[in-house]
Amino acid sequence: MMQGTLVQKIDAVLYRRGFALADARSLMRNQILLAAGGSALVCLATGFSSWGLSFAAGALIISVNFWWLAKAAQALVKVRDGAVFTLLTLFYGRLVLTGVAIAALVAWLGASVFGLLAGLSTVVINATLWGVLQIRHKVPATGNGKEA
């Protein structure tokens, strides 16, 4: 019940923020839940160690990155007049910010590299899980052989 309410609330926020497509909204919602839940779990399990905090930082960076990527992709497919420059600025600004954040974490803040990589991998896990679930939904159920 509470889980359903949380999902509905996140969906409502995403819809207001421009995620008009249901599937894109579902992807982004799953990413937020996976990143937040995974970070909380890892931080608690490792006692807020460098590894756990690096995981949380990686998950946050890639989630913000994915947010802007999804928004840019939705808008790029339906390019409107005058939006191209803004979109390109957002696209490259996001890339630069991601690069600077990762560089700061690795070079100056001494983040755990494996934790950071694990956090950055949440988006790959999310996309893979989503794809597998989609395939499972689309595959017709095999019969028991009596249909023939």
Partner: protein, 110 residues
């Protein structure tokens, strides 16, 4: 163009090997690791960024063409495009992280 690129790469590799094989120049070899790592990260990131850019461009081109031909399929194409872009971009980010590790963490020595 290809010849000059290969020549540059060969010169960098031969120079570092020459430094390493010369026993009295051990200090110079250690000093050469820095520039070699810088070259390696620059070339690695250039290859990763270039190929990921090619992949993303091809994906976006196909999605735009598909939407133009069949606007009703735009929603499904966009979701597939987002997934593809995320996968490709995560590869570029992995390459960036590995390059930053080579450059700053220096797992292969000073």
């Amino acid at each position: 163009m290809r010849k000059s690129l290969l020549m540059t790469l060969a010169m960098v590799l031969v120079a570092s090997a020459a430094y390493a094989s010369d026993a009295p120049a051990a200090a110079a070899a250690v000093a050469a690791v820095g520039p070699t790592a810088a070259w390696a990260t620059a070339i690695g990131m250039a290859i990763a960024a270039g190929l990921c850019g090619l992949g993303q461009g091809m994906g976006l081109k196909a999605a735009c063409e598909g939407t133009a031909r069949n606007p009703e399929a735009g929603g499904k194409l966009t979701v597939t495009l987002i997934l593809g872009l995320a996968f490709i971009e995560s590869l570029a980010i992995y390459a960036l992280v590995v390059n930053l590790i080579l450059l700053f963490v220096k797992p292969l020595g000073a």
